[in-house]
Symmetry: C2
């Protein structure tokens, strides 16, 4: 500003030229960057709908299809969406080639446009995951969480600790992976996706059974634990070293942050309702809600935890108001256009070719992927055996119900990949783990309940 | 990608380090950029609601308050939102100071974070204006446009041509402003905002009067003409020179683009409804709608017109479907959280201090501002005299009704400022013109209809 003013004052002839000169590069590239962003969004939307619908038709959760569609348009196949943080350069991107076809661009322009466009799509994806967690928070009922009781809490804790320890220690000891990526990959194994399991349970008529209640309760607790674990792990990845004091700070910080928000919830709730009631102009509900959610997300980042932790806390809190239904309805279309950007880019960032078994160098990555998948399945299966005082309960059904990773697993993969904490083979391994666990759970769950039925019938007959 | 692979293959020891090294800077800054973006959004939302509500209470359109709130948080006063394209550097930004307080940042980091954050907020604002024009398109009824007839069309054309020519020629001849900024400022004088006038007309019970119908019809046609003018002018600003062949291409291009979209509208409509009906997963309506809107916006940019022209065309087209009501409802919350980013940043980009009369150097800018305001008012007042074959019509009411510039005037100021085509004094002059014309219209309009009443009563009495 001082520079601008001094030129402005000293040279009257530059009065008109100055603003054009000062911003030549920005002003020249800005419309092209926008063109690239718009095209990227169109690709994301078409891919997300094609994938989501196909997945839905096959009775899998739409998010799985969005992820796979992302893999198809991304670094693994079509190269429409590629990211410099994941090792791509401008000439790898088909969208950049289209922009070059439209306008003649210098090599520096191309690099700068590619960087800007990728950065903007990444931030849109991050806003998407912030809104996703806000929505998950809105949908999680705190009272329900208090009711599910010890059984579910124990299952949830075992389901977090066993895969995390087995995954992290295994990667470090067996494969000599450094601590940070090993911890990140271990953490990605902890999540449980409630969506697909509860859908299958309700299909089988077991949603209200003892097993169903434990699985659903544990998955909800898992969400909360998973977000705390993610906040801790992502912060570790930022500093790049594992320091005991820091880890303790992060765990305590994340827990206090979440509990503090819930305790202050009543105050936030009342203020929110009072403000929303007073406002007369458009956006009287969503603007206060998003101001709060984004402020909490900002706070999460500012205290070196994670933005999504703040958004989740904001959702948990606003869930308790009588505006909830109306808010849910208005948040939905906003989430609908921003969340797919996250899921598709998570898929797009992965380069599955690093796991191509035909290439000898990929052997280690492939073995790691297989190891992760085994830990992901076994680590959740054992949770069934942690249920106590419930003779005759279907322990394998509970364990299997906890297997699918879904959205939260993808949140781990996405944040790990965007932050550079995960290298390509590990990232690809986690994505494959998420896809496989989600695909495997429904048939296994059907089998577990059928098995139970035939055992019971055999017992009755005998 | 090739580089990544070769390092990967040649040096097994760099297996784990490479992804961290390659993206050190990006990965390090990305969370801080996100923190800055989140804080900027919170500032935008709080400012927009405070301004919008105050404005609404005083019976002015909320958008005026959002604009003024933007001026307050921007370069003119609080320096919370400032932009490098408008001459600000990182140390001018209070948000950057807050980020520096949270994290220790090197000077290069600060510059890079400021650039990225500003670029992202700018693109969010551009997505906001794209969605605004999409919504305006959805709300414009093509059939209504066909009905308003010649009278309104003539008024609209006069109201576009007179201020444009008087403004552009005046700026060039009297103030020696170069062609491009002069044309941009002249174009900003052409818009008519329907919102505030129709609100006042309905208050006075004159909305369905002959005058009311002509004003509303002309304002709708003005919107369309204004967007074509903007597309042409913004394209000229991009190339930086006025070339007759180019101008002809742009005018013809913009008209053909708009008419073409409308002619193909039936086809788009049927495809849209067919697709939306088939989709079963979430976002079945908004995702196809936004894919279409963003693709049209991309096309608008790609053929060197404007993204907003495409978005407007997309809105006009989808307006004709039977999904319209449902779509309107779902687009609303999305517009609610993105459009304010545009209005607030338009205000924030302006530095009103360049018009401070206490500083001698500002004299020229101030005189230009006064000139623009006079042209803005007189140029629309004359439209009342272009109405033919309507003896006894209230010509001054029609002229006054066309005065407020509102949203579309701001779209000009915002795009001109972001593209660097307007220098600071011109930009500030346009903003003041928009604010003043919008403030003046309601009392003037009330006066004009009261005047008419007393004249008529005097005639009856006489």
């Amino acid at each position: 500003m001082i520079i601008a003013q001094s030129i402005f004052l000293s040279s009257p002839s530059s009065f008109w030229q100055f603003p054009l000169l000062a911003t030549a590069t920005e002003a020249e590239y800005a419309p092209i960057v926008l063109t690239g962003v718009l095209l990227s969004l169109v690709v994301v939307y078409i891919a997300s709908k094609l994938g989501g619908e196909l997945s839905g038709m096959m009775n899998f959760p739409p998010v799985l299809g969005e992820l796979i569609a992302g893999v198809v348009v991304g670094a693994s196949a079509l190269h429409l969406l590629v990211f410099p943080e994941n090792g791509a350069i401008a000439s790898d991107s088909i969208i950049i080639s289209i922009l070059q076809f439209i306008d003649t661009l210098s090599p520096e322009a191309v690099t700068s446009i590619f960087q800007s466009q990728s950065e903007i799509v990444s931030v849109l994806a991050e806003l998407g995951v912030i809104i996703l967690l806000f929505e998950i928070g809105l949908e999680s009922d705190l009272r329900e969480l208090k009711q599910v009781g010890y059984q579910a809490a124990v299952v949830a804790c075992v389901g977090v600790v066993v895969p995390f320890v087995a995954g992290t220690v295994g990667l470090m000891l067996l494969f000599h992976v450094p601590a940070i990526p090993a911890i990140f990959a271990g953490a990605a194994l902890t999540a449980t996706s409630i969506g697909i399991t509860s859908k299958v349970l309700s299909e089988l008529g077991h949603l209200k059974s003892k097993e169903g209640q434990i699985i659903v309760g544990a998955a909800v607790i898992d969400d909360v634990l998973g977000i705390i674990v993610l906040a801790v792990v992502a912060s570790l990845a930022k500093t790049g070293e594992v320091d005991v004091v820091n880890v303790v700070y992060l765990i305590v910080g994340a827990t206090v942050f979440l509990l503090g928000s819930i305790l202050l919830g009543n105050f936030f709730n009342k203020s929110f309702v009072a403000i929303a009631d007073k406002l007369q102009t458009r956006g009287n509900l969503v603007i206060p809600a998003f101001s709060f959610a984004f402020f909490m997300a900002f706070l999460g980042n500012a205290i070196h935890l994670e933005a999504i932790l703040g958004a989740f806390a904001a959702g948990l809190v606003l869930d308790e108001t009588d505006k909830r239904k109306e808010l849910d309805e208005q948040v939905k279309p906003i989430a609908d256009i921003l969340v797919p950007i996250f899921f598709v880019t998570v898929g797009a960032r992965v380069d599955l070719s690093v796991l191509n078994p035909a290439v000898a160098e990929n052997r280690e990555g492939l073995i790691i992927a297989i190891f992760l998948i085994v830990v992901a399945i076994v680590g959740k299966l054992v949770t069934g055996w942690s249920v106590f005082g419930q003779p005759g309960i279907n322990r394998s059904a509970i364990g299997i119900g906890m297997i699918p990773r879904g959205e939260v697993g993808l949140v781990f993969a996405g944040i790990g990949s965007a932050s550079g904490a995960l290298d390509k083979p590990l990232q690809a391994a986690i994505i494959i783990m998420v896809i496989l666990t989600t695909f495997l759970a429904p048939p296994l769950l059907r089998w577990a309940f059928k098995e139970e039925k035939s055992v019971k019938q055999a017992n009755l007959a005998g």
